[in-house]
């Protein structure tokens, strides 16, 4: 299809000043130009975003130094003694994210197997698929409310935490938030495992567990792995659910039951009243968060492309 397109005189491929001038005269080339312009919007937004994140955080990085900003664990804004380090928030983010992933893996894997392998094509699977889709669609603030009014009393009653606000509760809500996403993505990859391979294994006398272990997981493994990586990317940036449950203290989290703050929640909490150096520090945290999520998403997508090609 593409080779034929290229032979068409109107499907202009090169891009130069002369091309632009002639394009304005030709309605069809004008349309090609329009497509180009539309496609430029997203990269432009991305670059502009990166640029303004960097330019807004220069002040904080200049004041504290990049390395010190990342490794210092002090966050205070008393006049004259400003010191800020993002370490507690980075640790809080990573801790809550990986804890959420830990809760998420058994659930999403079973749901994915359920939908993609055991009951593939049956009504039960369709119902579960719809349920996961709906769960994925619920706004995060409603998850936050649920965490506050339903999950928190349970945590308090279990005696895990007095207030019910701690990294553990936050990551539980976070897990509920990312399970549907990870489940539906991994189900796609489990569905893609060729039936011949499975049938061959069954005909050799393999049990269902053996087929899962020796055929399905090796085949779909990289896809499932990338699904979890993308789920991590989701969890890193999740703001509302975490802000409502994590306790919002600026100390280094010492245990799973201590309160803390994530990078997203510190921005959400303090951005409203911030200015000057503090604003710049918050932008610096946003830059770190952006880099982290962008890297994780890129890795996840590249892995997915590889898995799909295979």
């Amino acid at each position: 299809m593409l080779k034929k397109m290229k032979k068409q005189p109107n499907a202009q491929h090169s891009f130069s000043i002369g091309g632009v001038v002639s394009a304005i005269q030709n309605p069809d080339k004008r349309f090609t130009l329009l497509l180009w312009a539309a496609a430029l919007v997203v990269p432009l937004i991305c670059c502009a975003m990166l640029f303004s994140l960097i330019s807004d955080s220069v002040l904080a990085f200049g004041e504290f130094g990049i390395f010190k900003f990342i490794t210092s664990s002090q966050w205070s804004y008393t006049e004259g003694h400003e010191s800020c380090g993002a370490l507690p928030f980075i640790v809080g983010t990573l801790e809550s994210t990986f804890l959420a992933l830990f809760f998420c893996i058994p659930f999403s894997l079973t749901v994915a197997l359920f939908v993609g392998e055991y009951y593939k094509g049956r009504k039960v699977a369709a119902v579960f698929g719809t349920i996961t889709d709906l769960l994925a669609g619920i706004p995060s603030i409603i998850y936050g409310l649920w965490g506050f009014y339903v999950l928190r009393p349970i945590v308090v009653a279990l005696g895990l935490s007095e207030q019910g606000s701690c990294i553990l509760t936050a990551s539980m809500v976070l897990a509920v938030r990312i399970v549907p996403y990870a489940a539906s993505l991994s189900a796609e990859f489990i569905k893609m495992v060729p039936a011949e391979l499975k049938e061959a294994a069954y005909s050799l006398g393999a049990t269902r567990g053996e087929v899962l272990r020796t055929v399905v997981f090796p085949c779909a493994g990289s896809g499932i792995f990338s699904a979890f990586i993308l789920a991590i990317g989701r969890a890193l940036g999740e703001t509302m659910t975490v802000t409502m449950r994590i306790g919002n203290t600026n100390q280094m989290p010492t245990s799973l039951l201590s309160t803390g703050n994530t990078m997203a929640s510190i921005i959400a909490n303090q951005f409203g009243e911030a200015d000057g150096l503090k604003l710049s520090s918050l932008f610096a945290i946003a830059l770190i968060l952006f880099t982290l999520t962008a890297a994780i998403n890129l890795i996840g997508k590249i892995l997915i492309h590889r898995a799909q090609i295979r």
Binding site: Q8, A286, N297
Partner: protein, 269 residues
């Protein structure tokens, strides 16, 4: 195994149940057509034992207005960009743009919120619905680009070739053949994108800010249903309204989700 999978639906049922049971109590016509009460009005109503007056009309109007404006901006750009990325998927520019779309899609909404704050709220010297619209539009764009790209890539190349062979220009081919045949999927993707951004609170917190009355001026601060939920959550006297507002939001989101499923089944290629 079945047990674990069934456990997964417990949160859904718990969330739906809690929101429905608590939300129905305050859900009256006046809840949908009146603005939020002030804390003082709510306090008086609570102490005198009557129901809290007012509702979330300001949020509904704000959400709809910002959503419509964001859609008008993001949908055409997203569809054209998606068509471009699908048609030229082997060029370097398209590959880079495709990865950029992934990055933008994965960007946490809080970052979009503060970026739009830096881009629009600071130069305009005030929070406004325009800023909220831009934030929502940027969130929506990559979702539409992605779904259009996937839909166009799935079309058989014979469609394109037939249209071009009949003498159709590139413009006519895209507008009369490619987009209409992929319409079902594009529409589904758009509905899902709308349903995803309709519940977004964070990008609105630092852009549209919120407003206690129905606001039609897009250069002024405006409220949204998720913003009102956040406001009710933080204000103990207004908490009875919390669940009804959540119920309204949840109904809208679920309706959009279900209708996108129906559309997807109807318009399968």
């Amino acid at each position: 195994m079945v047990v674990l999978a069934a456990l997964m639906s417990v949160p859904l049922l718990a969330i739906l149940g809690k929101v429905a049971v608590e939300g129905v109590k305050n859900l009256t016509p006046q809840f949908l057509f009146q603005s939020t009460p002030t804390t003082y009005q709510a306090l008086i109503a609570t102490t005198s034992g009557t129901a809290i007056p007012g509702g979330i009309a300001n949020g509904i109007v704000g959400t709809l207005l910002m959503l419509v404006m964001a859609s008008i901006a993001a949908i055409p750009v997203g569809i054209f960009s998606g068509v471009f990325l699908a048609e030229r998927h082997d060029t370097i520019f398209a590959k880079v743009a495709s990865y950029m779309t992934d990055i933008l899609q994965g960007t946490p909404s809080i970052i979009l919120g503060i970026i739009v704050y830096a881009w629009i709220v600071i130069p305009m010297r005030g929070y406004s619905a325009i800023a909220g619209t831009v934030a929502l539009g940027i969130m929506m764009l990559p979702l539409i680009v992605r779904s259009t790209e996937e839909a166009v890539k799935m079309l058989p190349s014979s469609y394109n070739e037939a249209a071009l062979a009949l003498g159709g220009s590139h413009f006519l081919t895209v507008c009369k053949v490619i987009i209409p045949s992929a319409f079902g999927q594009i529409f589904t993707g758009t509905l899902l994108a709308v349903s995803r951004i309709i519940g977004e609170t964070v990008p609105l917190m630092f852009t549209a800010l919120g407003c206690a009355v129905v606001q039609w001026n897009i250069a002024r601060p405006m409220s949204g249903v998720p913003l009102l939920i956040w406001q009710f959550f933080n204000n103990p006297t207004l908490q009875p309204l919390l669940w009804s507002a959540s119920l309204v939001l949840l109904i809208i989101v679920l309706l959009l989700n279900v209708s996108s499923k129906i559309v997807a089944n109807k318009w399968k290629i």
